[in-house]
Structure formats: C-alpha cells, structure tokens
C-alpha cells in the first residue's frame, strides 16, 4: 500500500537558555493510506513534537528542525510556504488534542466553531450548505443538531470531545492526528469515543495516528503500532507482530510486563528500572541502555540500527541482529 505520510530521520531540538532538549532524534515513521497507526510512548518521548512537526506548528524561536524530511502525499512539508500549509492543515491533516476542555473556544457557540473550520477550508460553500454540513457532522458524532447554538460549558467532557472530533472531521481530512484523545475521559466514555472514531475513520476512509500510552487501546483499535523512546521509533510493525510478544525490543517487553492486566494474577509487577533518559544529555549509544537488562558493551558505544526481524516488523536493538530471534 502507498504511504501517505513519510517521516525520515527527523531531528528536532528545543533550545532554552541553559540547555538543548533533543526531542526527536532520528525519528522515522511511515503511515499508509487508510491505516490506523498507534504511536506508543511515555511522557517526553517526543510524540507531541512529532505531531507539531508534521503540521509545522512547532513554537518558533525555541524549536529547530535539525535534519530529516517529512513527506505528506509526496509533497515536502518542511519546504511548504504559508498558503500551502494553510491548505494542508485542517483540510488534509487535522489534529485532536488531549484536553477537550481547553481546545474549544469557551465564548463561541459550538456550531459556529465547526462552521468556522468549513469557512476556512471550503470557502466555496454557501452559508446554507455549511449549515447542512455542520448538522450532518453533529449527527454523525452523536450530538443532536439542536444543540449547535449551545456553548462548550453546556456540554459534558465526553460530549465536548465529540465536538472536537466533529471539528477535526468536518473538512474530511485524509490524515487525523489524535493526541491522547481519550486520556481525559472515563472508561465507559472512552469506549464510546474510540468506537465512534473508528466508525468515522472507516466512513471517510482516512488514515489516523492514534497517540496513546495505553497498549490496550492500541491492541483494540489500531492496525499497526510504533513504539517511541527518547525521540526515536524503536519498534514498529503490525499489531499481530508486536503483540505476539515473541520478538520485541527490550523496552516494549518492559512496557508489556509493567501493565497490570485484567487477566494476570502476578503478585508483583515488573517495573522498568530507572527513569527516562535526560533529553538534554542523551547517551551516545542506545538510549535505553541504562534501563535495559540485556545491555552489552556494544550498546553503549554506538546507537543500534533498525533490524527487520520479520517482513514489516522492525526493531532497533543490537540483540536482534544476532540470528533475529527474540530472546
């Protein structure tokens, strides 16, 4: 299948007075047309930086793209001019943020907020057509169109996130970046929202990057998965390949072991020892080496290469080179 988004070897730094934060360090990711990719990583792994880079929304002045390329539908995103960018944002790629409370304008009626997106991207539509589209999308996300004259504070958390989704989908984008869209919601509401997103994604035949820290959500809603650690993708493959748990990166393995599972009876969890590598002072070798139980001298000397352990299943680990079988 064709790639819709190709991020190659992307380096992004944030520069502060005292230090340089290496947010992305050779980040490589491909998203195929029509696929849902789960992007898993912990706080500070660079997930949000990646989204902002793709939309070219990185804060100016403090952040810097140091190298690499981003291709969206064959076009080079990093060299786009302002009008091309405006075309791309919202109309082709749109983003759903984690917190529905802060991503809506509190003094604007929700219907008007959705309509504004249309006005930006489909100026050719008449006012009446826009109203119809707003009604349609509200119905799709499960909100009665009667409520479009209400303000965000009149909606509950789950309902607000539905409004946010409606805004993200109204211009029918090809790629949806969902940054922890359900983290702020309760489990029963999370189930509703995820089911809705899946259904809508299929209806519009769009691709989606679902950013989350919850491997369970990935397992249930995604086609493929990429695991991020310290600004690079350290493992990527189809859901089946990764969740089979036979050939995993030690970090992925650690993640699996430290989530309490509904079906397990273990007396103690196995945490990943230590803490995340300091992004202002990254080690030269493998960035996970300090926390890895299978670390060898080689790991500390040079960063490991991506190894294709199975067709389409890549792992960035020295241990994988030897024979390719999981340890």
């Amino acid at each position: 299948m064709e790639n819709l988004l190709e991020i190659k070897d992307l380096y992004v730094n944030y520069e502060t007075d005292e230090s340089v934060v290496h947010a992305l360090n050779g980040f490589t990711l491909n998203v195929k047309k029509g696929e849902t990719l789960g992007l898993v990583g912990e706080t500070g792994a660079g997930k949000t930086t990646m989204c902002l880079s793709v939309l070219r929304l990185l804060p100016e002045g403090v952040s810097k793209v140091e190298g690499g390329s981003i291709q969206y539908d064959g076009k080079d995103v990093l060299s786009m001019n302002k009008s091309e960018l405006r075309q791309m944002r919202g109309a082709q790629i749109s983003m759903i943020f984690q917190d529905p409370m802060t991503s809506l304008n509190p003094v604007m009626r929700v219907g008007d907020q959705i309509k504004e997106v249309l006005s930006l991207h489909n100026p050719e539509l008449s006012d009446k057509q826009k109203d119809e589209r707003v009604d349609d999308i509200l119905k799709l996300v499960g909100i009665s169109p009667d409520r479009k004259d209400q303000f965000p504070h009149q909606f509950s958390g789950g309902m607000k996130q539905r409004v946010v989704i409606a805004m993200a989908l109204v211009a029918e984008p090809q790629l949806l970046l969902a940054d922890e869209p359900t983290t702020a919601l309760d489990v029963t509401i999370q189930a509703q929202i995820l089911a809705l997103m899946k259904q809508l994604k299929e209806k519009f035949d769009s691709s989606m990057i679902l950013i989350t820290h919850d491997l369970g959500i990935v397992a249930e809603f995604c086609d493929s998965v990429a695991i991020v650690y310290a600004g690079e993708v350290i493992e990527t493959g189809s859901i089946e390949q990764v969740f089979e748990r036979t050939k995993n990166h030690p970090y992925t393995e650690g993640l699996f072991n430290c989530i309490p599972d509904l079906t397990s009876h273990a007396a103690r969890l196995t945490p990943i020892p230590g803490y995340m590598a300091d992004p202002t002072n990254l080690p030269t070798g493998c960035k996970f080496a300090d926390r890895c139980g299978r670390c060898i001298d080689k790991c500390r000397q040079a960063a490991p290469e991506m190894v294709e352990v199975d067709p389409g299943h890549f792992v960035k680990c020295n241990q994988m080179e030897k024979g390719g079988s999981g340890l």
Binding site: G157, A191, V218
Partner: protein, 321 residues
C-alpha cells in the same frame, strides 16, 4: 480475618448546590481490615474521592459514622482527634499540585513531624525523615531538591514519604498512579505493596483503573453516582460480577490480549449526570441495558454470595432463584 481498622456506617456527604443537594456520597457502609486494601472504583463524579476525604474528615460528613478501631471519630476534638488524625494519611492524585512548590523534599517530609511535634529533638527528627526517605527510595541527595525539579514518579515518592512520616496505619490513596507513566506506575504500585507487607498498612485505593485495582486490592467497591452498586472480594468481582454497571466497566477496558480483540463489548449509552436531589430508584437505570419498571424503586445492597453485595433487584432475584 484480622481486626477491622476502619468502618463506615451509612456515611453521607451532601454538598449544597443552587439546584438542590448534591448527594456526593450517599449511604456508604464499608469495612477495611488491618493490612488490607479496599479498592474503590468508579468514574469521575461518582463520589469516590469525596468518600476518601470524608473518612479522614477532610470533608466533614453530613451524617453517618466513621469508626476507627471501633470508635466513632466524627465528633472527636482537640488532642483526641489529633491522635487519630496522625494515624490516617492521604496520597493525592496530582503529584504536581500536591506538593508545596516552596518547600524542598526534606522540608516537605519534615512538615508533618514538625506540625505534630512527634520528635523529641532535632536528631530524632532528622533520623525519622532520613529513614522515611530511604523507605520510599529517595536518597539523601534529594534533600534540597524542589518538587518542580523532579518528574512525576519521584514526586509521588515524596507524596508517599510525607504520608508515611507519621507512621500511620491507614492511607487513603486517591488515584496515586493515574498521572504517571506506565513504567513508573509499576514502581509506585510495587512500593505501596512492599510497604503494606512490611508495616501492615491498610489502604483505601481510589481509582478509575480496574487493572490497577485488581492488582493491589483485597476487596473492591464499585460506586456509581454516590452509591455503592457492588462490593465484593477482588476475585469475586472479576469472575462473578453481577451488576450491569460493573460488567460494562470491565468490558470497556482495552486489553493487550489480541484474542479478546473482537469480543462482544457492552458500550454504555449516555453519560454520568450529577446526583442532585436524586430520585429514590436505581441511579444507573437510565443507562442500563436491562432497566425495567422495578428499577424506580429503591435498591438495597443484597448479599448474593458470601461477602458479595449487589444493589440491583434483578441480580438479587437471579441469585435467590
């Protein structure tokens, strides 16, 4: 069974609201034994945090009783109350806002000891702070570190150390790992469990995460809009849960087990509303797939199996019949 440490009887906490009274905690009775953990599960607004705070009197309950080793503590005053208060501590959800940003780690942990004048002299104070910090995995180089200089996991260790400093018997843990990354979550959970074993601590573990609660709890209480809907030993809840809400909660949790990927899922309609002047019937009925006429009548907690209580007439009937 070991002795009962904390018990509540018909505990109620109502908050005034412009439309009436919010029944945040409505008629909750529970028991926590020494060295055991009660997991309290529910969605936001179900009253689980208010319940935890009412037990340690951060919110003075509207009515009912809270018994600590058999003694009602709700009307204790002065010295008597302080004696009990130091035995009941709390760990908060947000490791960012729960630590005073103007105090260093050492000051934060010294604070409860200083306020209660428990140490006879400076050396003893020093010693107690040191040992508590070590217990929570905070080496002494953190003494002069401030909360903003630490990540969530380390901050939560400080929060735990602060709660442990007074050597309490009972700790209310209000979503202590919800704000943490999974790899750090496991560290904190293990630490909590180690401490429980070594000090015979009792926890009330409040969370919305059923996976975590299964791992750490001996008993589980499921709450919905201020009321208990199901209350049973942990394995019983997971294997023989009866209430439709418990079932929906369990089925909503995404799991990493691919074989369960296409299982039948109960997706609840609607959302939790506010328990303002609620009607007498089952509060879950508007979202319940099995709701019937009889749900408009008050529901009583019925023991359908040993120590397994459910507030649903349908479940009670099935168990009885």
């Amino acid at each position: 069974m070991s002795e009962v440490l904390i018990e509540t009887r018909n505990l109620k906490k109502y908050f005034p609201h412009k439309l009436g009274q919010v029944h945040a905690v409505d008629d909750v009775s529970l028991r926590i034994c020494a060295g055991q953990t009660l997991g309290v599960v529910g969605e936001s607004g179900c009253g689980k945090s208010t319940l935890g705070r009412a037990i340690i009197r951060l919110h003075q309950p509207t009515s009912g009783e809270v018994l600590y080793k058999g003694e009602n503590i709700l009307n204790l005053k002065g010295r008597d109350w302080r004696r009990v208060q130091t035995q009941m501590q709390m760990i908060f959800q947000d490791p960012y806002s729960s630590l005073n940003p103007r105090m260093s780690v050492k000051q934060l942990i010294t604070e409860p000891l200083r306020v209660n004048h428990v140490a006879a002299n400076k050396a003893e104070l020093e010693e107690r702070v040191r040992s508590t910090m070590e217990l929570c995995g905070l080496p002494d180089r953190y003494d002069n570190v401030y909360p903003h200089e630490m990540d969530g996991g380390r901050r939560q260790r400080v929060g735990l150390a602060r709660a442990l400093a007074l050597n309490p018997e009972f700790i209310v843990c209000d979503e202590p790992v919800s704000a943490l990354d999974v790899s750090i979550q496991a560290q904190i959970l293990n630490l909590l469990m180690d401490l429980q074993e070594s000090r015979n601590l009792s926890y009330m573990f409040i969370t919305h995460d059923l996976c975590v609660v299964r791992h750490i709890s001996h008993q589980i209480m499921v709450m919905y809009m201020g009321q208990v809907v199901e209350y049973a030993p942990t394995d019983e809840i997971f294997e023989n849960h009866a209430h439709p809400y418990t079932a929906a909660l369990l089925s909503a949790i995404p799991t990493t087990d691919l074989s369960r990927r296409n299982r039948e899922r109960v997706v609840l309609k609607g959302e939790v509303s506010n328990p303002i002047n609620p009607k007498p019937g089952c509060r879950f009925a508007p979202r319940c797939p099995y709701a019937s006429e009889k749900c408009n009548e008050p529901q009583n907690l019925t023991e359908i199996a040993p120590n397994h209580f459910v507030a649903c007439h349908e479940c009670a009937k099935q168990a009885g019949g």
